[in-house]
């Protein structure tokens, strides 16, 4: 198992709602994060990006949802077989996560120092002084000025960008192998976003932490990631290295997405637009979820969900039409 990926998600399905009449919000989701790699997860709002990543942490809210199908492996270890009481050991130390909302993701009644210290304590650092030192070190690392002076501060005394950096410091404090970042910059301004993105890149470079970056912004992904997984309505529709995605996207949705973003050298009068509206994840029971908005849609798209065809290189996409055109290979496993 030497070259096993750090995280492998295969054929994952998550349901919400009553067991009798569940809503499958993601289905057949498969992707891998290699050791030290950097994977981007893009897609429209509600396409299942967060749910997929929460599933990897086994943090799907128990009351309303559950993992219905699929496997999640962390370094070859079957995460779904780990008893629930063992998960806390893995969370934070093996996989850490930062969330979209820097404003609400920190506990408002605990000091910054305590919150980072807690993570350290939970993963074995019992010595108070060393915890403090490490906390300061982490805050320095993420570029909080006057770190010593600010460990006693409360989250509300920090700006959004600083809070997001605190979140990152907390997530990194136990040297996780994998950092899941769920839209870490969406709530931030452009100039602050730039700071955070730079920080993430540095961390990956210096600490070798693998990153699973979730965003709806292809620009952000392009900046950070080696590889991109594109989701649409609860399914993975394309999975390829960043270069392929940007230069020759295989799925019509990915293509549309790229074209509808105004570019620097774009001189056309009108933007390219994908017609129609985004379906709610899980409501499309049959066929390709993108077909109603797809220029290329055919009869087959109505009937059958396309499998992930293997395209040139390491590129995979779920489209009958483009696969045929590119004479892409049939997938090894049919979904």
């Amino acid at each position: 198992m030497t070259d096993a990926p750090l995280l492998r998600i295969s054929n994952l399905a998550v349901e919400f709602g009553p067991k009798k009449n569940p809503l499958r919000v993601i289905e057949g989701v498969s992707f891998e994060v290699p050791v030290g790699g950097s994977i981007g997860l893009v897609g429209e709002s509600g396409s299942g990006k967060s749910v997929s990543s929460l599933a990897a942490m086994r943090l799907i809210p128990e009351q309303s949802g559950r993992i219905a199908e699929g496997d999640i492996e962390l370094m070859g270890r079957d995460l779904l077989a780990v008893p629930a009481s063992e998960m806390p050991k893995i969370r934070g130390s093996e996989i850490a996560m930062i969330f979209q909302e820097p404003m609400s993701s920190l506990n408002p009644v605990m000091t910054i120092g305590d919150q980072i210290g807690e993570a350290l304590m939970l993963h074995g650092e019992k010595d108070k002084k060393r915890r403090r030192e490490r906390t300061i070190e982490m805050l320095r690392l993420v570029g909080i000025p006057n770190a010593e002076g600010r460990i006693g501060a409360y989250p509300h005394q920090f700006s959004g960008g600083m809070r997001q950096r605190v979140m990152i410091a907390m997530a990194l404090s136990c040297n996780p192998r994998l950092l899941i970042a769920d839209e870490p910059t969406t709530a931030l301004d452009v100039t602050i976003q730039a700071q955070v993105l730079e920080l993430m890149k540095r961390i990956r470079r210096e600490l070798g932490t693998a990153i699973l970056m979730i965003s709806h912004d292809l620009g952000v992904i392009a900046d950070i990631c080696d590889r991109v997984v594109v989701m649409y309505a609860g399914r993975v529709v394309e999975d390829a290295d960043i270069r392929s995605i940007l230069t020759r996207p295989a799925h019509p949705y990915t293509r549309g997405l790229l074209r509808s973003v105004p570019r620097r050298n774009d001189t056309s009068d009108r933007l390219f637009q994908i017609p129609g509206t985004v379906p709610v994840a899980g409501t499309i029971k049959r066929g390709c979820p993108f077909r109603s908005r797809c220029e290329l849609a055919e009869a087959q798209c109505e009937r059958e969900m396309p499998p992930m065809f293997k395209f040139e290189g390491d590129q995979r996409a779920a489209c009958w039409v483009t696969a045929r055109e590119a004479s892409a290979a049939e997938p090894e496993v049919k979904v």
């Binding site: 969370r91 130390s93 996560m97 969330f99 609400s104 939970l122």
Partner: protein, 311 residues
């Protein structure tokens, strides 16, 4: 923070003044002549006049008002019109009974209600939650005086386990006399606090920072108590304040049912007898009590919520 506390303290000044003004107006509008109420229907006109003179009921309203406010603020409540006893003494005697009833019932309510609520919140839609729901629904529905009467009949009268009435003397005896009345109110308080805890904890448990705590690797117990309950404290403090206030007003009927001494008993008697001096003192003390509880709650927020503390 000091500034906040100070400004909150200053804030109570107009409130207290307004309360006193309301009490004063109410007292002067009260139908019935205090003099007759005090002296009985056999008093002569001269005696009545003499009485009014003595009580300052003949003074101009403004003078009466100023005297009133001053007296209330200096806790000089005058003499009972009924038996000439010092009202301050009456209050001083009765107040501890009401306080011990209120506080012990809130205390019982907290130690039963809060864990129950947490238990329900951490098992939503399961048996503990249903039990909480049933408990709180009944707790909300049973009138305190009715529950008190049932307990009294069952445990004091029929089983003879608890005293029938009075407030008791000495620590142990007072505690003994307190059991049933406190349980009566505590049942209702615990239902309220339990439900509130459940809602607050459930709400907090859905917050992003709780997810963060889990993502950090905190175990469920830690998540619930360190992150969940700690943040639910703010709504809980409000609830605690409300339930202290409602225990205070519930104490009126309960004091009556259990025939305990107390502010409620004193006030209701005074209202019935139109003992002006006692009514205005009783209401003022009740009102100050209410203002004080509200103030305490606000100050508690400061301790609990750093967002207020630092500002």
């Amino acid at each position: 923070m000091l500034r906040y506390i100070l400004s909150r303290l200053i804030d109570t000044v107009p409130t207290v003044l307004m309360v006193l003004t309301m009490v004063f107006i109410a007292m002067r509008v009260l139908p019935g002549d205090p003099a007759i109420a005090a002296l009985g229907d056999l008093a002569t006109a001269d005696q009545l006049a003499e009485f009014r003179e003595r009580m300052g009921l003949n003074e101009p309203m403004l003078t009466q008002y100023l005297t009133f406010v001053w007296n209330m603020l200096t806790l000089d409540f005058g003499q009972s019109l009924m038996n000439g006893r010092d009202v301050s003494g009456l209050i001083a005697y009765n107040l501890p009974y009401t306080i011990e009833l209120t506080l012990s019932s809130v205390f019982l309510g907290v130690i039963v209600g809060v864990p129950f609520g947490v238990w329900a919140a951490t098992n939503p839609n399961k048996a503990p939650d249903s039990a909480m729901r049933g408990y709180s629904l009944i707790g909300y529905a049973v009138p305190d005086f009715y529950l008190g009467a049932l307990l009294l009949i069952t445990f004091s009268l029929n089983l003879g386990w608890f005293p029938i009435n009075g407030g008791g003397d000495g620590f142990a005896d007072r505690l003994y006399h307190l059991v049933l009345p406190a349980i009566t109110l505590a049942f209702i308080k615990s239902a309220f606090l339990g439900r509130l805890t459940r809602t607050a904890v459930l709400e907090v448990m859905g917050r992003d920072y709780v997810r963060t705590a889990r993502a950090k690797g905190a175990r469920e117990k830690r998540v619930i108590y360190r992150h969940g309950l700690r943040n639910a404290l703010l709504p809980l403090t409000t609830g605690l304040g409300l339930s202290t206030l409602s225990a205070l007003s519930g104490s009126v009927a309960v004091e009556l049912v259990f025939n305990r001494p107390g502010l409620g008993q004193l006030l209701i008697s005074a209202i019935a007898e139109r003992d002006y001096a006692v009514i205005q003192a009783g209401i003022t003390v009740f009102a100050l009590f209410v203002v004080a509880i509200n103030l305490l709650m606000d100050l508690a927020y400061v301790l609990i919520d750093p967002r207020i503390r630092v500002k």
